[in-house]
Symmetry: C2
Subunit: 123 residues, 2 copies
DNA sequence: TCCATATATCGAGTAATCTCGAATTATGGA
DNA sequence: TCCATAATTCGAGATTACTCGATATATGGA
């Protein structure tokens, strides 16, 4: 990930409505939500939400798919991984001893209790 | 980490000079750099850089320590951990199967398999 | 105390962002 | 074709952010 894309992503998340939308869509993985539902969920006018969704999409954080008259939005979990990696990359580059504790702190929340969770849908 | 702090951090990083400064300071851990050196490094006027450093500090991403006439700035690695955790928290909450691959992808960069991977300080 | 160095704050001009009413485009059904 | 629904784009006013010259504050030394 180059810095220009990282800046787009950070700018997209630096706004309360958009951050809430992104977290909502992560919670709704993998079904996603249509644009109108998202606007109602956040109590924001429909056209204002459309602008926010366009910004999140342009930043690569979510993606859109038309389904009949609705447009379904979904979070792109890869983007989360890339952003987090971009943040820690510099210290990992030459100094794993600095970065390892960060990973150690992140891991516990995601350690699957059983091994039935090996494959994730991935492109 | 509550959302207001996350927004401050994202906004601070959503600007090219500040993102570069933050990454520079991560690379210079744990010694840090005085404000003037940072400004020269980025070819930015001293007072402009002071404003950027204040924004990064207010966001909790870096910290300042006076040392004689200089003020040394250092990256707060805890902030990286918190931000990354905030990003993945929602999927980790109920669905470790979604989040585990993210952690798996982050981990390899920090496993100190060969300790000969030291980076020469250059610039 | 006076001066030089190092950094922070103020003020103003410019640019970008946020918001939302109004108009536009796209889809599906009668 | 006409209509209703769903979403996007346009336009403008209000707010916020960026930049930098000028000025102010803080420290150390003579």
């Amino acid at each position: 990930m180059e810095s220009e894309r990282a800046i787009l992503a950070f700018a997209a998340l630096a706004q309360s409505t958009r951050l809430d939308v992104f977290r909502l869509l992560i919670a709704r993985e993998p079904e996603g939500l249509p644009a109108g539902d998202i606007a109602r969920h956040m109590s924001v006018p429909q056209n204002t939400m459309s602008t926010h969704l366009a910004i999140l999409t342009r930043a690569g954080l979510i993606e859109a798919e038309r389904q009949s008259r609705s447009i379904i939005y979904r979070a792109k979990l890869d983007a989360v991984r890339e952003l987090a990696f971009y943040l820690v990359k510099d210290c990992c580059g030459g100094r794993p001893e600095i970065c390892a504790p960060l990973i150690a702190d992140l891991s516990p929340c995601c350690t699957p209790k059983n091994e039935a969770t090996q494959e994730a849908v991935h492109e």
